[in-house]
Point group: C2
DNA sequence: GTGAAAGCGCTAACAA
DNA sequence: TTGTTAGCGCTTTCAC
């Protein structure tokens, strides 16, 4: 009857069908999407569990997801502020986690007995999951090697690292830097590491500010990369660091670092070269384009979504997808004579 | 029975209730959110019809919405890429439109016979709607007056305007600028206007690039404010403009303008003062902080969401809410002697 | 070719 | 205090 006419399915007398369609049109009839979802057991929605939208990396990743989702009739809901348990109360067919760290938390928490399709992006940490899920992997170990090698080729030997985290935190970028630089820097390694974090720099009152912010204002206060980069520049000068190049945790941090360092009288890249990670649109805002390792978040987003939607559709899926990394040269790295 | 136990409603024997709760816990039972939505006729989702997520203004507005929505148990879905008709196929209880222009389009299109709660943000255009909906208004006429007055007080008389649109487009910012500056600039007004748009600058091949981009790549290619600002700087120099101050359409444009102008050898603010609109986090990336009229998008987002959720809850609502505007001084405006 | 009924997962209301 | 039913809006299936 009516349903059959509207959906072109089954037998309906042509004339009657015509009439039904016309009336539906007149009344401005649209099927109720919630009822449809209940029936089809498909919400056509997917959650991207992402906190910090001021971070261009996340935005570009999200836009990549959107691109694929749109083509395949899906919506991407953002909700990094949600309590993890809450995930079970929202209408989604699948979930994208931004890092293997989050993936681990999820799989050991609400994901333990909730068999929703899940994929995770990865920055190369070697975390193992309690359940096997697809990983879209950006190999930052390789990537860090690549950019360090690039700096090396430009003649730099003493390469410092600027990070929002203490040296003890096992971030791939830090581990890889340590791995390479310890030969060159030996037991002075630590003095070339600028970890803007209470742990390791607790003596510095300026660092505590970030801790306070994090505890007070919001539950999920995002990392203050830019401001931490600025502080790193101050500490860099105070330590009288003789590094000729500085590798920053990401572009945002690199931009904060450059901005403050210039205000402190350094010339970039003449006095110090600076490089970062990410390669997103926000780079263009700075007067000098920062040299960076592009992580191609848009592509990662596309891949995450493709794999997730394939999973939802019950197709065969790849369990590991690698994202290509590429150096984008800017104005902040200079070749030096040795 | 089971339902009653789980929801604490109606009479259930204490012991039985206990047992039910325990088993539900063990099984990891969670009510199906779609079924709940169908029953309650509430999806607990709201759509923010926003295209350009690379624009900090939109992001901050979205974060404001999120803040309120979270408190009241709602999700905010982004979907500016959706076909307008598609709005009726997604599971939402309400809709937030980003501008009165969009609101008009919606109300005359799918909104004509779809009585979903809607609110719109407004930048002060005097568009009238076919149906009355709440407006969260940022009075840009007043705002433009305010920042022009500020520049005036700093001694500037010849104030140029940089915009991504032709002068004929009736954007409030442009109209207000014209209104004020025509007394000072008279029939030379046009030569102080830099509208980076085919219409008005079609002779310039560099402008056509943007047009092409817009037509090709994506359906909803966002405005290239930054790049247009850069081009405006080139044209500013070519025209040999004697303006002592330049008012840009927004901060992103101002940042592009400043960046290029400096590369062309101008000193800011010594040679030219520059001001913009928005006052969002992306300002900090530039080496010089741009002086701006802060539009407080976060606050606008909060208000939009509050009014919309009140509407959904059937509460009495305000039809016009005004957002406060404030000048944020930066490093790009200098007082001059006359 | 058409109408009626079952069912998607849940709760509110009603009868026992 | 408990079990049952109707109904949220839709489609699919099964009789007619």
């Amino acid at each position: 009857m009516v349903s059959r006419a509207l959906n072109n399915s089954g037998y309906v007398e042509a004339e009657k069908k015509e009439r039904i369609l016309r009336i539906a049109e007149e009344l401005g009839y649209h099927p109720n999407p919630v009822a449809m979802s209940l029936m089809q057991q498909r919400t056509r929605q997917v959650l991207f569990y992402c906190k910090d939208l001021k971070n261009a990396y996340n935005i570009e990743m999200y836009e990549g997801m959107l691109e694929t989702a749109q083509k395949r009739g899906y919506m991407v809901v953002l909700g990094g502020y949600l309590d993890f348990q809450e995930i079970r109360n929202i209408m989604i067919d699948g979930l994208i986690l931004p890092s293997e760290y989050m993936a681990k938390l999820y799989l050991e928490g609400p994901g333990r007995n909730y068999h929703l399709p899940v994929v995770t992006a990865s920055l190369g940490s070697s975390i193992t999951f309690s359940r096997s899920i697809p990983v879209i992997k950006c190999d930052l170990w390789k990537g860090t090697m690549k950019i360090l090698h690039y700096l090396w080729q430009m003649g730099h030997r003493k390469i410092a690292m600027v990070s929002p985290y203490a040296m003890s935190i096992e971030h791939v970028r830090q581990l890889a830097w340590k791995d390479v630089m310890q030969y060159e820097l030996g037991d002075r390694l630590e003095s070339y590491y600028f970890g803007i974090d209470r742990e390791g720099l607790s003596a510095d009152s300026r660092v505590l500010k970030f801790q306070e912010e994090k505890n007070s204002q919001y539950v999920n206060m995002p990392e203050s990369f830019f401001e931490k980069g600025e502080l790193a520049a101050e500490i860099f000068r105070e330590r009288n660091c003789d590094a000729t190049a500085v590798l920053c945790f990401n572009d945002e941090m690199a931009m904060g670092f450059c901005r403050r360092l210039k205000k402190l009288g350094f010339r970039i890249p003449d006095d110090v070269s600076v490089a970062g990670f990410d390669g997103t649109y926000s780079r263009r805002y700075a007067d000098q384009l920062v040299t960076t390792l592009a992580l191609n978040p848009r592509h990662a987003g596309i891949k995450c979504m493709e794999v997730l939607l394939d999973m939802i559709d019950g197709k065969k899926i790849k369990y590991v997808t690698n994202i290509q990394l590429k150096i984008l040269e800017g104005d902040t790295v200079k070749a030096i004579r040795r």
